[in-house]
């Protein structure tokens, strides 16, 4: 992460001149150019955040006026709602497996592709590996699901070929793994970021290590990992935010049993719009409360991660 270079402006020494600076011609032009984002931030981020915090303290359906009920939504959510407990468990399991495994797989493949002396046709491999990630999620989840089809899928056929009873992946606890596997299938973007990270590590370091008799594994542990630790950190933070609000996959794979397909994301949607399945239609107030709980969890984990990062993330220039 690049440190933003603090620009020394002539007027920043004293407070009053800073204010004058804020009204200067330069600043006015800045605000003019930044205004699309500033207005957008106020309308589509700042106001919605306040509104959603307020809604979470009300009972609210979109056609009616919000009715203040204090912390009732949160109380119900944390003590009574079985669906919330299921959704939280499913989302946490999904996150705990898909994020680290995704990082490990994309790092592993990036290291494979980064062996310049061995690997030819980098562009081709990269395109092949990246393809699943850019396809429309509805289409790709259909294709993925079709492979695991109990009656007609090639995987069931493989089981039968070996004289085994095929497994119906979607009705057993393996359903969780199908979703995780599907998310891992889209490892492409992570791999490309790691590949760039690996190429940024000076080869001199590896050469020096090999002269000193270090094994490949040792070089990986002592040079590669510290060198790309900022990338791992970035991937982790990003993956966490994405996976805690995962919605689409669970929604697309219609054959998933309900209790396996309730995630925090689907719980918010189901309560707000009364979707198919997901238990309660608690309205937009309740959905907002769930959303804030997701936000809270993400913030806590991210804060812990930031706190822990100084022990393992190396930012120094090599």
């Amino acid at each position: 992460m690049q440190q933003a270079r603090v620009q020394r402006l002539p007027g920043t020494r004293r407070r009053w001149s800073a204010w004058r600076e804020l009204l200067s011609k330069d600043s006015r032009i800045f605000f003019l150019f930044a205004s699309p984002w500033i207005i957008g931030f106020l309308i589509f981020t700042a106001y919605p955040m306040l509104a959603s915090a307020y809604y979470s303290l009300t009972s609210y359906k979109v056609t009616l006026n919000p009715k203040w009920i204090g912390l009732d939504n949160y109380a119900y959510l944390l003590t009574k709602d079985i669906n919330f407990r299921l959704a939280l468990t499913n989302s946490l399991i999904y996150t705990v497996f898909s994020v680290p495994l995704g990082i490990a797989i994309s790092l592993f493949l990036a290291s494979l592709l980064n062996q310049k002396r061995i690997v030819r046709g980098l562009t081709l491999w990269r395109a092949l590996f990246y393809l699943p990630a850019i396809l429309p999620a509805v289409a790709s989840s259909f294709m993925f699901q079709w492979i695991f089809s109990y009656r007609y899928g090639p995987i069931s056929a493989l089981f039968r070929f070996f004289g085994q009873q095929p497994i119906n992946f979607f009705t057993t606890s393996l359903a969780q793994w199908i979703i995780i596997f599907f998310s891992l299938w889209g490892f492409g973007p992570g791999m490309i970021i790691f590949l760039a990270g690996l190429q940024g590590i000076p080869t001199v370091l590896y050469e020096a290590a090999s002269i000193d008799g270090a094994s490949k594994l040792q070089s990986f542990w002592h040079i590669t990992l510290p060198g790309i630790s900022p990338v791992i950190f970035f991937q982790f933070t990003n993956g966490l935010i994405g996976s805690m609000q995962m919605f689409q996959v669970a929604w697309f794979m219609d054959s998933l049993p309900q209790q396996r397909s309730i995630f925090l994301g689907t719980l918010v949607y189901g309560n707000a719009f009364g979707g198919t399945g997901v238990g309660t239609a608690g309205g937009m107030g309740y959905a907002s409360a769930v959303a804030w709980v997701i936000f809270g969890i993400v913030m806590v984990i991210t804060a812990l991660n930031f706190g822990g990062s100084r022990f393992w993330v190396h930012y120094e220039q090599i």
């Binding site: 959603s52 809604y55 509805v138 259909f142 079709w146 007609y152 937009m284």
Partner: protein
């Protein structure tokens, strides 16, 4: 330093006894075999669902349900693709998809580039603080904001219109895009802009005539990202568009989910069967795949900038 190390390495390998050297060559061949084997296995896994979808789309009903499964139909049924175009309101969905994807891409490119220019090249005491705010919005789960945003559009009577897709992109164009373009604009030397300023050109003119032409590759990247985002978007259309005539591909395909999900015999759900649903999935995915293959470079660069310097 690098040269020195290199030379030393050369000399050590040259001074090694022949036996040791040939073992090193042998082990590097083994290593290459292992690396390629792994790459082939992984690409088989990534391609497998696509291959199976293609094979299914070319099968007859009988072949879809056959056991042992037909891996590749002896007589590919290309006519399975006909109902995708004829019975499925294909062109309505295509039009809707294009309106959303192109509209979103255009708005994002224009407003993200204007905003990014401010954060990269213009001066204001609040600039760095505001930029931090831009970056922090990336961390915000969209579930926190989507309900009030829905209520805004509901009150504006814009549900079941393209308004919710065509309006927001003009207001900032997305934090990632701003970030990516700012990184790019920062590489443009200030001297170029100052030359224009000395000549008395307005900032807008400098932006349009100096910066934008230089930033074409970066703008193309943003355009591609947003276009694909719009093409693939499911959640937005799902909450805002309930009228079938407004549906983009993602929703139209989603409506066929029961066909793939259920282990129903072919033909039970409506007139669409598994092979035709797979044909539809491929038809929707194909433009994106082709677009990606031809513009891979932009993608790789865009992802690298956002991922590495974030």
């Amino acid at each position: 330093m690098a040269v020195l190390v290199h030379q030393r390495r050369e000399s050590t390998s040259r001074s090694l006894p022949r036996r040791v050297r040939s073992r090193a060559v042998g082990s590097s061949i083994v290593q290459a075999i292992i690396v390629y084997a792994l790459l082939v296995i992984v690409s088989l896994i990534t391609i497998m669902p696509l291959f199976w979808a293609l094979a299914t789309s070319l099968k007859t009903f009988k072949e879809v349900v056959a056991y042992p499964p037909v891996y590749w139909p002896p007589q590919p049924q290309w006519q399975n693709y006909v109902p995708v175009f004829k019975n499925w309101d294909f062109f309505t969905h295509l039009r809707n998809t294009l309106i959303i994807a192109l509209g979103q891409a255009l708005g994002c490119v224009v407003s993200a580039s204007v905003t990014a220019y401010a954060f990269a090249k213009l001066r204001c005491p609040l600039r760095d603080a505001l930029f931090l705010l831009v970056l922090s919005t990336i961390m915000l789960p969209h579930f926190v904001t989507f309900i009030p945003v829905y209520v805004i559009f509901y009150n504006l009577r814009l549900i079941n219109t393209f308004g919710p897709f065509l309006i927001p992109p003009w207001f900032g164009g997305g934090a990632w895009n701003i970030f990516l373009l700012r990184q790019f604009f920062k590489t443009i030397p200030d001297d170029l802009l100052d030359a224009g300023r000395v000549d008395g050109a307005s900032e807008l003119r400098i932006f349009a005539q100096v910066v934008v032409p230089l930033a074409k590759p970066a703008l193309a990247t943003i355009f591609l990202f947003s276009f694909m985002g719009g093409w693939n978007d499911f959640f937005g259309p799902y909450i805002y568009l309930s009228r079938k005539a407004m549906w983009p591909f993602a929703l139209a395909l989603f409506a066929l989910r029961a066909i793939i999900a259920g282990d129903l015999p072919p033909g039970v759900v409506g007139s669409m069967t598994q092979n035709i649903t797979m044909a539809a999935s491929l038809v929707i995915a194909l433009p994106i795949a082709v677009l990606f293959l031809f513009t891979q470079r932009y993608f790789v660069e865009g992802i690298t900038i956002t991922g590495m310097k974030g």
